[in-house]
Symmetry: C2
Subunit: 276 residues, 2 copies
DNA sequence: CAGGCTTGTTCCAGTATATGGAACTATGTT
DNA sequence: AACATAGTTCCATATACTGGAACAAGCCTG
């Protein structure tokens, strides 16, 4: 063990706590977090105190913890200033008009897909139902599409961390079957979700990859099985691929030499050397 | 100096970095952050590396930094599971139907109001335009309303940190004039924003305070000056106050003995003793 | 195109700060 | 009343953060 020595010290631990609290359905008590993280009591206690003081967590009267609002503030800028989202938006809309179904934009982060934007019919939904929601990559269309464009070493590393929880009867249960499907996806250029995450829900997705930005994600068209057949999804596949390719290209253009939305003189070095 | 010794150590510094990057209009470069925080180069460099590794920041090809998506993921739960928002939602809607104008729900955090929800006419807006947005408390309706229910020691502490940036000709420029208005607000039970933050925009607001949750915020009805007169706002004031009072009461009921949305057995102690 | 300037990266000794085991207090259970 | 459970505090120790200073690399400017 001790292979990947969380190089981020205190910060890493703090984020691990946030992760536990934010991903839990209900407010977490001290002991819940303690057991989830297996940190020493003293350490965790101090850490929680700090997180509360920083406004990242809030402690309720019954002493349990839930995510604090400061996170919302941070996320606002993270979302509203996101160029990926801005650039993709019109293409999402176009896809929605073409298909009449819900369109998602998502980004791969470790083993998860984080949904960044969404276009759906009934615009009654606010904070668009699941912007910011994270779903496992191995059982979602965008997730598998994104995985398919990963260098195989990365795919290896990431899939090693997956849990393969069986959400439906059709969910992948091991890396092996996932790899097999990813091989297909690499060939086809698009991925399906055949009710693997939620029953009665399926989608087609295509990957978007911009190495310069370390950005890997994708877009998808999603619908209920009773209305959207696999044949229908297959028919849409090329449109989805086209949209993905267009977004990818525009991102490349508008980031490299570009100015525009915070273009800034690109002082590219011989090789990307980030803090390590 | 050195009065309030940021008790949160490493975490505090990391959040200060996030704050700088998230609040800046454009991506921040190393030196920008360096000057904003006046931390030693080595320290900051390592910290940025950690933040990137954790996905809280993203480094662009030109080496500048912008907020990472992981923040969006955290915020999703922070918002979707927020009881304050859930409970207030129907009252916001009612106020909107009554007035026809935009209704906001906000929470006070230090010197800022963070907007948590919003109801407006044209529901075309997604991620509702400014959910998660933070505005200064001293020049917004909800902000001043919230400040008015603070114990005066707290008001003192918080207002000492304010910057009193003059957004419009009518913005408060010092704590003195603000205090004077707050005295009025305490008496009336509601606050106005008379084009103090944005020209041509005004609002009425009422405070919401639930000490058990350390929750102080408010709701407001906002409109453009050409359509909404001060007299009109004054007429709405009692409705806003009523809504605020109703929300406050429901929060008290549903949190104390309540079960419901993660009610949990309230193990209230002799005195609230949080980690310090 | 050489010299100065700005920006970002790396190194390392010193020490402040986080660590974590263990004892303690408070609350609820048998 | 004794036990069990949940949360809080304490403190010697060492790890991980600190921050000055040197280094590397792009960028002017004369």
């Amino acid at each position: 063990m001790g292979r990947d020595t969380e190089g981020t010290g205190t910060l890493g631990k703090a984020m691990a706590v946030l992760e536990v609290v934010a991903m839990a359905e209900r407010p977490q008590r001290f002991t819940d977090i303690l057991m989830a993280l297996r940190q020493p009591r003293g350490t965790l206690h101090r850490l929680l105190g700090h997180l509360v003081e920083e406004g990242l967590l809030v402690q309720r009267p019954d002493l349990s913890y839930e995510p604090g609002l400061r996170l919302l503030k941070f996320a606002y800028r993270s979302w509203s200033g996101n160029r990926f989202r801005e650039i993709a938006a019109p293409y999402l809309l176009k896809l929605h008009q073409l298909t009449g179904e819900t369109v998602h934009l998502g980004v791969l982060r470790e083993t998860e897909i984080i949904y960044v934007d969404k276009v759906e019919s009934q615009q009654t939904v606010r904070m668009s139902s699941q912007i910011g929601k994270a779903s496992p990559a191995y059982c979602t269309g965008i997730g598998k599409a994104a995985l398919s464009v990963l260098p195989s070493s990365e795919l290896q590393r990431i899939s090693a961390r997956m849990e393969f929880r069986p959400f439906t009867p059709k969910t992948h249960r091991s890396a092996e079957t996932l790899y097999a499907e990813i091989a297909e996806i690499r060939h086809d250029g698009h991925a399906f979700d055949r009710e693997e995450h939620e029953a009665e829900i399926c989608c087609v997705a295509a990957p978007i990859s911009v190495p310069d930005h370390d950005l890997i994600g994708g877009i998808s068209v999603t619908g209920p099985s009773y209305r959207v057949s696999l044949a229908q999804l297959t028919a849409w596949a090329q449109d989805v691929r086209k949209a993905a390719a267009d977004i990818e290209e525009e991102l490349r253009i508008r980031s490299g030499p570009g100015r525009e939305t915070g273009g800034e003189t690109p002082r590219v070095r011989s090789d990307a050397q980030r803090p390590r």
